[in-house]
Symmetry: C2
Subunit: 405 residues, 2 copies
Amino acid sequence: MIKINENYLKLPGSYLFSTIAKKVKAYQEAHPDADIIRLGIGDVTLPIAPSIVKALHEAVDEMGQASTFHGYAPDLGYDFLREAIAKADYQERGCQIEADEIFVSDGAKSDCGNIQELFAEDARIAVCDPVYPVYVDSNVMAGRTGQYDSVSGTWSNVIYLPCTMENGFVPALPDQVPDMIYLCNPCNPTGTTLTKDELKVWVDYANANGAVILYDAAYEAYITEEEIPHTIYEVEGARTCAIEFRSYSKNAGFTGVRLGFTVVPKDLKSGEASLHDMWARRHGTKYNGAPYIQQKAGLAVYSEEGRREVKEQVAYYMRNARTIYDGLKEAGYDVVGGVNSPYVWLHTGEQTSWEFFDTLLDKAHVVGTPGSGFGPSGEHYFRLTGFGTYENTVKAVERIKNLKK
Amino acid sequence: MIKINENYLKLPGSYLFSTIAKKVKAYQEAHPDADIIRLGIGDVTLPIAPSIVKALHEAVDEMGQASTFHGYAPDLGYDFLREAIAKADYQERGCQIEADEIFVSDGAKSDCGNIQELFAEDARIAVCDPVYPVYVDSNVMAGRTGQYDSVSGTWSNVIYLPCTMENGFVPALPDQVPDMIYLCNPCNPTGTTLTKDELKVWVDYANANGAVILYDAAYEAYITEEEIPHTIYEVEGARTCAIEFRSYSKNAGFTGVRLGFTVVPKDLKSGEASLHDMWARRHGTKYNGAPYIQQKAGLAVYSEEGRREVKEQVAYYMRNARTIYDGLKEAGYDVVGGVNSPYVWLHTGEQTSWEFFDTLLDKAHVVGTPGSGFGPSGEHYFRLTGFGTYENTVKAVERIKNLKK
C-alpha cells in the first residue's frame, strides 16, 4: 500500500472559500434573478494600473527578442527588484534591511505556507484566533498540530491567541512558550492592528524565548494611522527574531499576476545555522524564481507613476471599507477594522457566523465570510471586504442596513 | 534557541549550478579575453515564439481593463488550459487522462520538489543515478534520506539505481522495495531513454509493491524515436501508480516564463485516501494558482501556429545536440543521448568529472556540467547541452575535438 502523509487526512472539510463558492453557486442556481453582491473573498477588482501594464508589455517584448530574452531567473529574484524593495519598503522607512535579505517569490501565500519547513517537526506554533487559515493548515500537513477537536474547532498542539472585542483584538502573551508565532498586521480577517508598542512586546518576547515571529504584512499599504508599523523591522530587535511576508496582491492588484517577497534577515540564527541560508537553499531546491515579466511589473510599482496609481487604487478600496464600516455602525452593528485595512469585522449578535452568512445571502443577496472559518474565536463574527466596486458596496450596505429595520 | 529543521544542515555544499557559475566567473575574471561558450546549464536561449508573445500581450491587455481583468486564478488552473492539455498531451495519444486530473503550476521544479510532501516520513525513495538533484535534495530536507557519506556521495536511506554504460543506462529493479520511485524519461542528465516495454516493467513493479512512480517527462518534446513513450500513461496500469510532471520550459522556452503541470490520476489511491485530493488540497493551501498571463501563453503553445513554432525551436536545439553527439563520437569519445534529448552524455575516461570540467574550461573555454554532480554513478561522465546557439555549438565542438588531437 502507498505510504502517504497521514497528516493530510486530519484536515477537516475543504478550504473555507471553496465552501462559500459552492453555497453561493447553489443559491444562485435556485434564485437565478437574485442580484448577488460579493464582498466575501479578499480578491481585488480594479484592473492593473497603466504604468504597470506598460512595464508588462515591455517585458513581454524583451522575452520575444533573442538579444533581450531572459531564461531562468536568479532563484532569489533579480537584483533590480530586490534593490528597489530594500530601498523603498525598508531603508526609506529607516529599517536596516539589505537587498540580499529579500527573497522574491510568486506570492505571500506560497511563502506563508512553505516557511514552516525551516522549523523542527516538534516546533510548536501560536496563531492569533481568528486568523488566515494557511498558517494552521500548512502546519497540520507537517504534523505539528496534534489532533483536531471538531467540537471546539481547535488543534491540541496549537497555542491560540484569542483576538476578540473583549481584549480589543490585541492578543495577550501565551502561558506556554511557542517556537513559531504567526502575526498578521493589519490582521486578516479582523482588520485590526497592533501598534509599534504592542508589537515590541512580541519582539521582546520572541527574542527572550528563542521563538520566531512569522509576520504577515500583506495589508501594509492600507495603514493610515501613524502609530501602526508598516514593517516589523521598524521595531528594535526584530532582525534577530522575525521573518516578514509581503505581497503585491493587495497594494497593486496582483492577485492574478502573482508576485510577493519574504524578508529573512541575516541576523536570524539558531546557533550557527542561518535561517537566511536555509530559506535560500529551499528557494534554490524547490523553486525556480519568479518570472522576469512579473518582476519587471513589480519594479514598476516603485516608479513615481506606479506609486501614484497604486495609491489611488488603495484609496478606492479604503473608501469602500469606510462606507461599510460607517453604514454598519449606523445600523447598530458592533464593528472594527476598515481604518488601516480593507476588511471590516462585525459581530453577528445571537446568530452564528454561518447563520448570519445564510441570512445575508438570502435576505440581502450579499456574500461575506463567516468569522468561524478563521478560527474558533471568529464565531459570531463576520468579514466584509472593501474590494468590490463602490457602487456595489453602497448597494450592499443599504441592503444590510435594511435588514436591521 | 530557535528550533530548526536540522535536515537542512545535512545537505552537502551548494546547488551544483551555483558552484559551476562561481568557477566560471572566477575563470573569466582571471582570463578576461577567453571567449567562453556555455553548454552547461539546461537553459534555453531562443526567444519566446511570436504567437506566444502575441498571446502574452493580449493577456496583459485583458489585465489592464476592468471588464476583462482576472484576479485570483483557480488554484488548480484555468479550465481552458487544463482542457487543452488533457486533449493534446493525453487524449490525442490515446491516454485516458481528464482535464480535472491536470494541476497547473509555476513549473516542474516546484512540483518535483513539493510532491514528496504527500508521502509518509518513513517512505523510502529510489532514484536513478545519476539524476536531477532536486529529487534527492527535497527528500533530504524532509528527513527521508538518512545520513550522507561524503566519500561515496550517497545517502544511507536512498535506493540508488545506477544507469551507466554497463547496463545501457536502463536501471535494474532494486533488491529492496522503495515507496517512491523517481524516473526521468528522457533522462536528465544522460539523455538516454526507457522504451515503453522497459517502462512497463517499472509500472508493473510499482503496482505489485504499493510504490508510486514520480515520472518527470520535462523533455518529452525531444523524443524522436517511435518506441519511446511521451507520457507514462501510454503504459497500461500507470493510472494506479504514477504521477507525471510536465514543463513548458524545454518545449516552449518557458524557463523564464514559468509554467508547468502535474498529472495525478484519480485512480491513484492509498486505501481510501486519494492522492489526487491530497495534491488538490496542497495546491489550495500553499499555492495561489499560476498567473492568468502565463496560462494564456500556455494555451498558445497548443494553437496551430504555436505548435509549429515550438517544434521549430526544438528542432533547432536538436540539431545542436546532434552536432555535439556526432562531433564527440568522431573525436573518439564514448557518448550517448542527443537523439531523444537535448542532452549529450560523454565518458571522461581517466579524468574525474570535475577534472574534465577544468580541462574543458581551461583548454577549450567550454562550460559543461560534471556528471558527478548528478550522483555517484555520474562520476567519469559529463553533460553537454544543445541549448546554445548553433554557431557556438559548432565552435565548441571543434575546440573539444582539438583537445583529442
